[in-house]
Amino acid sequence: AQSVTQPDIHITVSEGASLELRCNYSYGATPYLFWYVQSPGQGLQLLLKYFSGDTLVQGIKGFEAEFKRSQSSFNLRKPSVHWSDAAEYFCAVGFSYDKVIFGPGTSLSVIP
């Protein structure tokens, strides 16, 4: 069955520290991959996406993600976290044009 998992429900990091948020999917082929961010009380905003090509993709706000086919993963990274990065992060996987599944989300807290 097609599924998306984000193993970490909540992560706390110190400001200036590096960040990695995990995303795994279950699918027999290469899907379309997205990371979205949701600030409190807001809708979701796209950070980055991967469809094909270079497996390391750059996004907005200094985020990047790497697609690893062998691990069925698409982890999000940022080298130095800012307090304004505190938010909910969602990995989304597009299995077809009409089937995009969102992961359960990872809540990020940033300690000043």
Binding site: L44, K49, D98, G103, P104, G105
Partner: protein
């Protein structure tokens, strides 16, 4: 450019009441979606539309109805509200070409409580 707008922002309903959540996009996107977001559950797709006059069920369609008479508008109707429909509802749109999913643009959400 307003993007995706949703009204109302908040609403409290009594069990058995009905209401319509409004969604409008001004980006001329062909695809539109309705999701519900419950704590720790991510987003669940309720209904989606690939163009005016065409709608289809998502993962959790029971208790909801939609219509898409124009490209811009995609209202969600709740009939006979139940406490299980207490949630935050998001509308989104995207410009999908061919058969590839693409970036979804989200509205600010509607927080609905059914008592």
């Amino acid at each position: 450019n307003a993007g995706v707008t949703q009204t109302p922002k908040f609403r409290i309903l009594k069990i058995g009441q009905s209401m319509t959540l409004q969604c409008t996009q001004d980006m001329n996107h062909n695809y539109m979606y309705w999701y519900r977001q419950d704590p720790g559950m991510g987003l669940k797709l309720i209904y989606y539309s690939v163009g005016a006059g065409i709608t289809d069920k998502g993962e959790v369609p029971n208790g909801y109805n939609v219509s898409r008479s124009t490209t811009e508008d995609f209202p969600l109707r709740l009939e006979l509200a139940a406490p299980s429909q207490t949630s935050v509802y998001f509308c989104a749109s995207s410009r999908n070409s061919g058969r590839t999913p693409d970036t979804q643009y989200f509205g600010p959400g509607t927080r609905l409580t059914v008592l």
